[in-house]
Amino acid sequence: MTTEAPLLRLENISRSFGAIQALRDISFEIGRGEVVALLGDNGAGKSTLVKIISGGLEPSSGRVIYDGAERHFTSPADGKAAGIETVYQDLSLCTNVDVVANFFMGREIVKKYLGVPVLQEKAMEEIVAKALSDAGTKIPSLRTNVEHLSGGQRQAIELNRFVHWGGKLVLLDEPFAALGVEQTRRGLELIRRIADQGIGVIFITHIMSQAFQVADRMVVIRQGKVAGDVRRSETSADEIVQLITGEALGGRARSIDQDNGQAHPAA
């Protein structure tokens, strides 16, 4: 899919906590504009992996190559500065202020009068209106407090904010856990639109149908290893379930590992 350098490449990432090996030799990559679903049973190591990618944890060994260079993120702030961020539902919004304020949280446009910084509400509102309409997101009023918006709209604000401020790779951990059917459908559309703007999206889910609706590729983690890395078009729900649970870890999964190896001969 990507002939040029991938957005993010993980090479032989391992991570242990004392005697416990949470991740063993994880290798996979994600390109610009690609949506990868990260699947796996509870305790398979998905969260650890997400933390390593976003900078929350450092790997015990292995290399993280992002945007063409090897990186050593030591904190989520490092990751964020580089354009990688985990978007947690609702944890990143202040519901007591309006959409514009949330969009510009911490980066408000100000003009100084006699040395006093004054918020430029009009300018900020115009930028938010443009960013949201470019992304095809509709919010009734940008001056509504976020507490009055639906879960889907909140997610849209967070993702659009992320894109607007130069985000390149977004990690979504169970993004639709609290959403209804209709909102989830819109959320999946939103993920697609975000990816179409050239953003890499990694999303963790337990729900197979969501992965099949939106992901280009699915990476299955089992017992800290990549059990499978398959294109959506070349797999089936049954096969993914088998990969997750480890039943019939037969020829298919092994051949996938080889495919994966071929994808980056530099390793």
Binding site: L91, G106, V110
Partner: protein, 373 residues
């Protein structure tokens, strides 16, 4: 702090579903856009805006209603002199309320303000008053006592604020307990410094602010009003104020967005202390000195005014003009009690009731907002 956030989220989530169920039967208008299954955002948006407006400015409506009621029922209530007196009385509680509001909006609490005010007043009294425990320090030219005494009062307030900030922000102690301690030791220090005696006779240059009037209102009351307006501007129109609201709403999100939460919180504690120092300076000028029990009970009046004024105890919600209206409301009630010739202890009974009513109102408004969400 995190549990609060999580609880808030859970409540929000539950509120949404409830709201959808509750608002549907109330909206009589037919749903215009069929394909939108969530009708609440459009059908009720005007109504919601109206209710929001009333909730946001509830205190002004109450104030107008109460003033109208008193004017109609209490003889001699309706005159300029009475209203000017209400504004004058509001000076100290009004000033204290600014700092308390900022901290409650940021999600903290400051119980120390009353003692900080008394401490600042006592130090100003001791340094510049001419009799009692006063040392009667004077300057040439004599008006220099105005900026110097103000600086002293602000510095004392800021120092106590900084000590509160140290315990709350650096040592992660609960702000309620830390400032309760400061409330107690602050008053103790006032008594210790003065030996229980009072300082009298501040210089005329200072007294000028309490005596000289503009539009029938003494200059010191104007100082409180101007301070309220300045901080209202800071809260609504500057990044500092915006970030304060965000910290009160969701400190985790603010932190994740790169806002320096700790530094901002510490600054706010220092500010609240300095503002209490300002209140102490004004109070010393008004009483032309200080006594050891100066301003006792103002904390609870301030607290009631802040909550009645629309600052939510949950944090993240509030406006300073509203708080000033809350202060005016309390002062008008007090004036009515005086005019009716009720015994003074009734004031305290009613004020206790007002604190309860204020918190009840806060809860009530919160549940209405939930339903609107």
């Amino acid at each position: 702090m995190l549990p609060r956030v999580v609880a808030g989220l859970a409540a929000d989530g539950a509120g949404q579903f409830q709201a959808a169920a509750l608002l549907k039967p109330a909206s009589l208008k037919p749903v215009r856009h069929r394909r939108n299954t969530r009708s609440r955002s459009m059908v009720s948006s005007n109504r919601r805006a109206a209710i929001e407006f009333v909730l946001d400015h509830l205190v002004w409506f109450i104030l107008i209603a109460v003033l109208a009621l008193f004017s109609l029922t209490i003889p001699n209530y309706f005159q300029i002199g009475i209203f000017a007196n209400i504004v004058e009385q509001s000076t100290f509680v009004g000033t204290l309320a600014i700092g308390l509001s900022l901290l409650i909006i940021a999600g903290y609490m400051d119980l120390s303000i009353e003692s900080v005010m008394a401490l600042a007043a006592m130090v100003v009294g001791i340094l510049f008053a001419k009799s009692g425990v006063g040392l009667g320090i004077a300057f040439t030219p004599e008006w220099l006592v105005v900026p110097i005494s103000l600086a002293v009062a602000l510095a004392i307030g800021a120092m106590v604020g900084a000590s509160n900030a140290l315990f709350v922000v650096k040592l992660k102690m609960n702000s309620f307990i830390v400032t309760l301690a400061a409330y107690i030791w602050g008053r103790g220090l006032v008594v210790a410094l003065s030996g229980g005696r009072s300082a009298q006779e501040l210089p005329a240059e200072l007294r000028f602010l309490a005596i000289q009037r503009f539009l029938q209102i003494p200059l010191m009351a104007w100082i409180a009003i101007i301070a309220t307006l300045v901080f209202a501007f800071i809260l609504n129109r500057t990044p500092f104020g915006r970030h304060l609201l965000m910290i009160g709403g969701n400190p985790t999100a603010a932190y994740r967005a790169g806002i320096k939460v700790d530094r901002l919180t510490a600054t706010t504690f220092v500010l609240a202390g300095a503002i209490a120092g300002l209140a102490g300076w004004l109070l010393a000028i008004r009483t032309s000195g200080a006594t050891a029990n100066l301003g006792v009970g103002m904390l609870f009046q301030t607290f009631a005014a802040v909550v009645i004024g629309g600052v939510s105890l949950k944090g993240g919600v509030g406006s300073l003009p509203g708080v000033y209206a809350g202060v005016l409301l309390l002062a008008s009630i007090q004036t009515a009690i005086n005019l009716m010739g009720m015994p003074a202890h009734f004031t305290q009974l009613i004020q206790g009731g007002m604190v309860l009513v204020a918190v009840l109102l806060d809860t009530f408004k919160l549940s209405i907002r939930k339903r609107l969400a």
